[in-house]
Amino acid sequence: MRELELDLVSERVASIIQQGRLGNPSFLRCTTQVNKPSSDLQTVLDRILKLAEHWFKGAPEKTYHLKSTSANVITVSAKWTGGQGAMISIIGIPFDQAPKLDIVLLGGRGAVYFDTDGM
């Protein structure tokens, strides 16, 4: 996952939140494409959930796993006691394709977009 620089994204966004530029961070939409077999999809999902926990300051109260007929996609919807929510999907792609990260973090008065493919 080093190629997606998740740690850097996590800290940069946390700093934006801390500056009050979003208002209360409220909803995370994340669609990530990672190479299989090098990346285990569940591990990547857990890391994205950790990002959300960092930004929302706590673990979700409830998660829902959307069952798929494909082992190449995992999707989770999560909800926090404070009302925050997330919809996260991890997609496995062949090794010769570039991994991608598409994140939207909505706050009460602003939004953060991070898309490795550009807006």
């Binding site: 829902y64 007929t69 909800k79």
Partner: protein, 381 residues
């Protein structure tokens, strides 16, 4: 070329002025009148009359009488959603072509009654849902039909409206959804999972083209005090399962004027057995930077704080957001696509059955959000 007489139901303060503008400018159409039910409120009456005055056509205060006019070929139906269940069947019985504002209805009973009435009379009809005729919607459909990504596995779709003054939800407010919703439309706001969620749900259902069998949804109040006060949500997210195993997720809502460089995120990702494609009307785009002023939030109209409708006076008109110029233009707008279908004698994509399926799916979403559990479709009748 035929010239179609167009009757408008509903006036200012609805989406009708937007539709009327297209009908009025299309050489195949001419506006006949504006009408509505005789029982409308004084405020609604005034707004309806204002639209009639703008186009110099009569206002007919009795819908039944207006529908008897043989010069009317098309009815553009735009009353509040709570009145559509009784108005649309009347229009269908009058055997006019029907352009239907979205959503189709607010209850399952009304949606079923509308489907039955329209299918009984076999008229050309379309529910407004521009995404299916958009450049990205059409490209996505071609990609699926030609198996460009192999077999379809899942779809992710987002639709956010960059309007309204955000950041006003009372601190600490957490939404508890109610499945028995009585009202979606208020002067100052609309239920956004219902009103905006309809777009990605309708788009995804059309792309998958199989019945939705299960949903799991969450609804929230993240942005606007107006929605909290009215008891309705401003945002929603839903996971969907279709017959055959294809899945989808959608997120949708009204997220505030200042949350996006343009009018709000509109993104679609198709995942297949052989690849992934992402569509976004702003990808690719051309950036334009010059000494035009940057966008600032418009003055908020007290009767339309969410900027849902065309501004009723210049002081409330929103500045253009045009730093990004999309490379691809949409081939047609939704209303013109409907007129094209009448001309060519073909059935519009977003027919009443698809519109009713969207309503049923959203209603199932509210039940899911209330109970915090997966809900199966179809819903019990």
């Amino acid at each position: 070329m035929n010239t179609y007489g167009v009757l408008l139901i509903g006036g200012k303060g609805t989406h009708q002025p937007t539709h009327a503008k297209v009908f009025a400018s299309d050489p195949r159409c001419r506006l006949i009148a504006v009408t509505d039910e005789p029982s409308v409120s004084a405020r609604r009456l005034k707004l309806n009359q204002q639209l009639a005055e703008e186009y110099g056509v009569p206002y007919i205060s009795n819908l039944d009488e207006a529908l008897l006019n043989d010069d009317v070929d098309i009815v553009s139906v735009c009353p509040e959603v709570e009145r559509r269940g009784r108005i649309i069947p009347k229009c269908a019985a009058a055997r006019k072509h029907l352009y239907l504002d979205k959503p189709l209805a607010d209850t399952l009973t009304d949606a079923d009654a509308i489907v039955a009435a329209i299918e009984k009379h076999g008229i050309t009809h379309q529910m407004q849902l521009g995404q299916v005729n958009s450049h990205t919607g059409q490209a996505a459909k071609r990609a699926i039909d030609t198996e460009q990504i192999g077999d379809l596995v899942t779809i992710h779709a987002d639709q956010y409206f960059g309007k309204g003054k955000g950041g006003t939800v009372p601190e600490g407010f957490v939404r508890n959804e109610q499945e028995d919703i009585k009202r979606y439309t208020f002067l100052e706001a609309k239920a956004e999972f219902f009103d905006v969620g309809l777009y990605p749900i309708g788009l995804v259902q059309w792309l998958v083209d199989k019945p939705t069998t299960k949903v799991y949804a969450i609804t929230s109040n993240y942005f606007f005090a107006e929605h909290v006060k009215a008891g309705i949500e401003d945002f929603g997210a839903m996971a969907m399962t279709f017959e055959g195993g294809v899945t989808a997720t959608i997120t949708a809502g009204r997220v505030g004027y200042m949350t996006h460089p343009m009018n709000g995120r509109s993104r679609l990702t198709l995942v297949g057995t052989k690849g992934v494609i992402t569509y976004d009307p702003l990808r690719p785009h051309i950036d334009v930077y010059n000494d035009d002023p940057n966008f600032v939030m418009p003055k908020i109209h007290p009767e339309d704080p969410m900027g849902m409708f065309e501004a009723q006076s210049p002081e409330y008109t929103s500045m253009p957001r045009n730093r990004f110029v999309p490379l691809h233009e949409d081939p047609t707008d939704d209303t013109t696509a409907f007129i094209d279908c009448i001309e060519r004698g073909i059935e519009p994509i977003m027919n009443v059955r698809r519109g009713a399926a969207v309503t049923e799916t959203i209603l199932a979403g509210y039940i899911s959000a209330t109970r915090g559990e997966e809900v199966s479709l179809p819903l019990p009748r």
